[in-house]
Amino acid sequence: MNFEFSEEQLMIQQAARDYAQRELIKDVIERDNHAIFPTQHVKALAELGFMGMMVSPDYDGGGMDAISYVLAVEELSKVDASASVIVSVNNSLVCYGLEKYGNEAQKQKYLRPLASGNKIGAFLLSEPEAGSDATSQRTTAEDKGDYYLVNGTKNWITNANSASTYILIAQTNPSKKHKGITALIVEKDSPGITLGPHEDKMGMRSSDTHSVMFNDVKVPKVNRIGEEGFGFTFAMKVLEGGRIGIASQAVGLASGALERATAYAKERKAFGTVIANHQAIAFKLADMAVKVENARNLCLKAAWLKDQGKPYGIASAMAKVYAADIAMEVTTEAVQIHGGYGYVKEYHVERLMREAKLTQIYEGTSEVQKIIISRDLIK
């Protein structure tokens, strides 16, 4: 066991922290208020290498490990979870899926610009009637010889508008149920694709979430990832890593709220002393710190397993369900510690609380994580 980070991991953590505390913070409230996509920030994060940080340098990625990724996503999420989900989806769903399962031509054509951040990717799995239950896909991709003809609707798609490259999960053989599901690379400007309106969300308001409609969209067969029928396995494998990203985001929301609450408690006075000296507040902070530490360790464990090439699906499910739950608890307590100030936007913690809620829902709800964990226990 070794709990020390390498100098390089610390440098990446600091780089993410510097960018978040120096740049993201400047307009985060404004972007949240008006649901403005952080275009300039994504560009800057791409230049710093955060958009494809785990992809091999051979494909213009950063060549960093999953531990570094956890640290970076946490730091970004302390300030702006909308920005960090853009980073997370691009890294752990889109880039990872392409690098791990795409063929060489696909990597050259699609992975390179995604890893360098010149383009953004989106992962299209959820449907109006199939969210966490990924087996019942209604979007179909009909074999037409050298292309597939895609029809259907995808819901809750992060980066739907800003992305140029979609990874689409669709049904190619309905009779085979989930074994008939296939993963396709779809260019967003393909004819027949239309977007629903920008979802007016409770939190993560500056990430652009839309539904995506496919109406006779032609997708060349060379854009299929793996074989026909591989799509479900593909999606599940990719989501295992995605959970590390979202879990780290939840840790960042919690630790960002803890940092703010601690600073506030050391400054704010009540009954003649700073409120941090009141046990009611001090114990809250202690409880929050323990939860954050636990959640972070779960993330790091999952990342470490991934870096070691060991199975990490259960570890990442544990990290996600726990981190998301404590993110909700810790951010709520941070608002409480701030009192009235916590309820106004200027103090940031109310936003962190709104955003924390989503980590319990997206990329597999907490309930789905528990299904994954319990099935493994009782198998």
Binding site: M11, Y19, R22, G49
Partner: protein, 247 residues
């Protein structure tokens, strides 16, 4: 043209300053170390110059005096974009000692950057001393710098204004805020490349110690702030005259 940037390893600027029990030494427990802020700006400016087309800058070297723990700071400088690092393996004692050690490794550069001071002991001395030891020109309080052929064009702050001047290389530029807008954040690519960049370790030379700190004190605690209400604003101004006697 070859550039050298001197790098100091200092406590993060948000560090709460504490000393050991007998108050003879800074208590470094739990302290996060960073590149001295002005040195980081200097490095950023050096990078900007190098990236300017036709600048003719071949290499940027960074150097410090310190033990192995300070290498993290040098490697960050490499990640930001310096080409090579040199560490003189010694305790950074007083400014003269540090300047004398740096003099061993500072020959042959056209432009040397130093920060106006280190944010810990605020000596404001190493750059000037090194320039004197090397026998080269130095310009201090530098807030802007361009390279124009063999000439270095400098903007510096002087009492009451600023001044544009030119000086022939080699020159020591002792820089302050303004030299670069913000310190550069190392990119992933830079962090990766820093792995394979050279970091040379040089043995120190025998040098006398000319000053040291016997002890440290924290500034005396201030009396509590006298609070006035918004409506009593005028009374506060009167207190400044009658009580504090500063008006």
């Amino acid at each position: 043209m070859k550039i050298l940037v001197l790098i100091g390893n200092v406590p993060d600027t948000t560090t709460k300053i504490k000393f050991n029990a007998d108050k003879t030494m800074f208590d470094a427990t739990g302290v996060q170390w960073i590149i001295n802020p002005w040195d980081e700006l200097a490095l950023t400016r050096a990078m900007e110059l190098k990236e300017t087309a036709g600048s003719g800058i071949e290499t940027i070297t960074v150097a410090n005096v310190g033990h192995q723990e300070t290498e993290a700071t040098l490697r960050k400088a490499l990640a930001i974009g310096a080409d090579k690092a040199i560490r003189v393996d010694a305790d950074a004692k007083d400014a003269f000692y540090v300047a004398s050690q740096l003099a061993l490794v500072s020959q042959g550069y056209d432009l040397i950057f130093a920060g106006v001071e280190a944010s810990d002991y605020n000596g404001a001395a190493v750059g000037g001393m090194l320039a004197e030891l090397l026998g080269i020109q130095s310009v201090s309080s530098v807030s802007g710098l361009q390279i124009d052929g063999g000439l270095v064009k400098i903007t510096r702050e002087i009492e009451g204004g600023s001044q544009a001047l030119s000086v022939a290389a080699p020159v020591m530029a002792i820089v302050q805020k303004g030299i670069a807008k913000e310190p550069r954040i190392p990119a992933m690519r830079g962090i990766m490349m820093a792995r394979s960049k050279p970091l040379e370790v040089v043995q120190p030379s025998e040098t006398e110690i000319r000053m040291s700190f016997e002890a440290f004190d924290l500034p005396p605690a201030k009396a509590a702030c006298k609070k006035f209400t918004e409506e009593q604003a005028k009374e506060l101004i009167h207190a400044l005259r009658e009580e504090a006697k500063v008006l």
